[in-house]
Amino acid sequence: MSNYKVLVSKLGLDGHDRGAKVVARALKDAGFDVIYTGIRQTPEQVVEAAIQEDVDVIGVSILSGAHIHHVSRLMKLLRERGLNVPVVVGGTIPIPDVPRLKQMGVREVFLPGSSLKEIINVVRRLAEEKRRAEQQA
C-alpha cells in the first residue's frame, strides 16, 4: 500500500510558518508523503491542491486569529466540491473557538503545546479511516 498523503498549508495572511514546517517535517519522518504549499494560501488554493494531489488529510495552520473566517470558507468549499477529506487545524486558537471549529466539521484542533506524537497519531488515524471508507465505496 502506498504512503498516506497529507497536505500541510498556511491559510490566510499569516507568515508564521515555523509550526507548519516542524509538523510537515515530523510527518515526513513518520513515513507520510507530505505536500507543503507554503504561506498565504486561500481556501480555494488549498481545496484545489487537495484535489490535484488526492490527499488523505488536510492540515492547516493559522496563527493570525482569522481561523473562524478562513476555516468556515474552506469547509464550505470542500462540501461544494463533494470532497470527503478530513481537516485538522493547528495554531493559536482560543479554547472557546475549538467547539465552533469542530461544529464546522474540523476533525481535530491542535493548540500550542500539542505534541508531535499526538499530531502524527491523529493524522494517521484519520488517513486510515478515509482509505477504509474509500475501499468500501
Binding site: S2, A30, Y36
Partner: protein, 324 residues
C-alpha cells in the same frame, strides 16, 4: 486476482470523467497509476488510445537551481498562449523513514486554481523503477486529459530519473552560477542530456562565466542525441521573470524540430515501450522477491557454499516461477 466487472466499470467512469474535465476524477486516476497493478494496466489500455498529442518537457537540474520557480513562470507564458499545462513534480523519498516532504508545488501555487493547469507531486520512493513507472503512466493520463504541455520536474540524479528524461520530448537542464567550473560542464551525466541548457539566477554575478563554460562544453563535443539538434543555452532569472519567454520560444523551436524530423511520434513510441518494459520488470521483480522470500535460508548460503552460484540461483528462480 482478476479485476472485477464493477471495478472495471468504476475505472472506466473515472477515465471518462477525468478526460471530460473533472479534476477530482483526474486526481484519483493519477493515484491509481502510482503503482503498477491490474487496475493501472486496465486504465493505461484506455488512456493510450486517447494520448500522444501532448508535448512532454523534462526539466532537470540540481536542487536549489530554481526549477520549480522557473516552471511556475513558464506556466504563465504557456497560459498567455492559451495552452493547458500539466506538471509532474518529483521530490525525494527519505531512505530512512520512507516518507517525503514535497514542496515543488509551493512555488507554483499561484496556478492552483487555474482550471487549465494541473499540478501533481510524486514521491521518488518505492521499488526500483517505481518512480519512472508512476511518472510515465501519469504522463499518459495528463496527455489523454488534453493538457498541451506536460512538464516533468526531477533533480535528474540516478537511473530512474534519467529514464524519465528519456521519455520527454524536450529536455531542459537547469543550472546556476556557482554550481561548478568548466570541468563540471564536461563531465558525463546530466550535462550531456540537455536539448536546452538554462543558466538560471542570471541576476547573480558569474552567470556569464557559467554561460561560457557551457558553451565551451557544447562546442568541444558531440553533445546531443545525434539528431542534428545543436543544444541551445538560455539565460533566465526565474525570480525576476527575465528570459522565461525566450526559453519558452526556444522550447517551441525544439518542438518544431521534433515534428519536422518525425522524432515527435518516435518519442511517444519509445516512452510507451519504456513504460511497458518497466511494467514487465516490476511483474518479474515481484515474483522473484516472493521466491527469494520463500527460500531465504537456501539463498543466503548459495554464495558461500555453491560452486556455481549464478547457475544455482538461475535454476532456483526458474523452478520457482514454474511453481508460482
Amino acid at each position: 486476482m482478476q479485476s472485477s466487472k464493477p471495478r472495471e466499470a468504476y475505472l472506466n467512469s473515472l477515465i471518462e470523467r477525468a478526460v471530460g474535465g473533472d479534476r477530482a476524477a483526474l486526481g484519483k486516476l493519477l493515484t491509481v497509476l502510482e503503482r503498477p497493478s491490474r487496475d493501472s494496466g486496465i486504465v493505461l489500455r484506455t488512456l493510450v488510445k486517447k494520448s500522444g498529442r501532448a508535448h512532454v518537457v523534462g526539466v532537470t537540474g540540481i536542487p536549489g537551481s530554481g526549477k520549480s520557480t522557473l516552471i511556475s513562470k513558464l506556466i504563465s507564458v504557456y497560459r498567455s498562449w492559451g495552452l493547458r499545462v500539466g506538471v509532474l513534480a518529483v521530490d525525494p523519498t527519505s531512505p530512512l523513514s520512507r516518507g517525503a516532504l514535497m514542496a515543488d508545488r509551493l512555488r507554483m501555487q499561484r496556478h492552483a486554481t487555474d482550471p487549465n493547469v494541473f499540478i501533481r507531486s510524486i514521491a521518488s520512493k518505492g521499488f526500483r523503477g517505481g518512480l519512472s513507472l508512476a511518472a510515465l503512466a501519469m504522463i499518459e493520463a495528463l496527455d489523454a486529459a488534453g493538457y498541451d504541455k506536460i512538464i516533468v520536474e526531477t533533480v535528474g540524479v540516478g537511473q530512474a530519473e534519467v529514464d524519465i528524461m528519456h521519455a520527454a520530448h524536450t529536455i531542459v537542464v537547469v543550472t546556476m552560477p556557482g554550481a561548478g567550473d568548466d570541468i563540471q560542464a564536461l563531465k558525463a551525466g546530466v550535462m550531456e542530456i540537455g536539448d536546452i541548457y538554462v543558466v538560471n539566477k542570471s541576476d547573480k554575478p558569474e552567470a556569464d562565466q557559467l554561460l561560457e563554460f557551457i558553451n565551451f562544453a557544447l562546442e568541444t563535443g558531440e553533445i546531443g542525441s545525434g539528431e542534428k539538434w545543436r543544444p541551445l543555452v538560455v539565460k533566465t532569472s526565474a525570480i525576476m521573470g527575465t528570459g522565461v519567454e525566450e526559453l519558452a520560444k526556444v522550447i517551441e523551436k525544439h518542438l518544431e524540430h521534433l515534428v519536422r524530423t518525425g522524432r515527435f511520434e518516435e518519442k511517444v513510441e519509445s516512452r510507451r515501450l519504456m513504460l511497458a518494459r518497466l511494467f514487465a520488470l516490476r511483474i518479474v521483480e515481484e515474483k522473484v522477491e516472493k521466491i527469494i522470500e520463500a527460500h531465504k535460508r537456501e539463498v543466503s548460503r548459495i554464495l558461500g557454499e555453491s560452486d556455481d552460484p549464478y547457475t544455482v540461483l538461475e535454476a532456483l528462480i526458474e523452478k520457482g516461477l514454474r511453481e508460482l
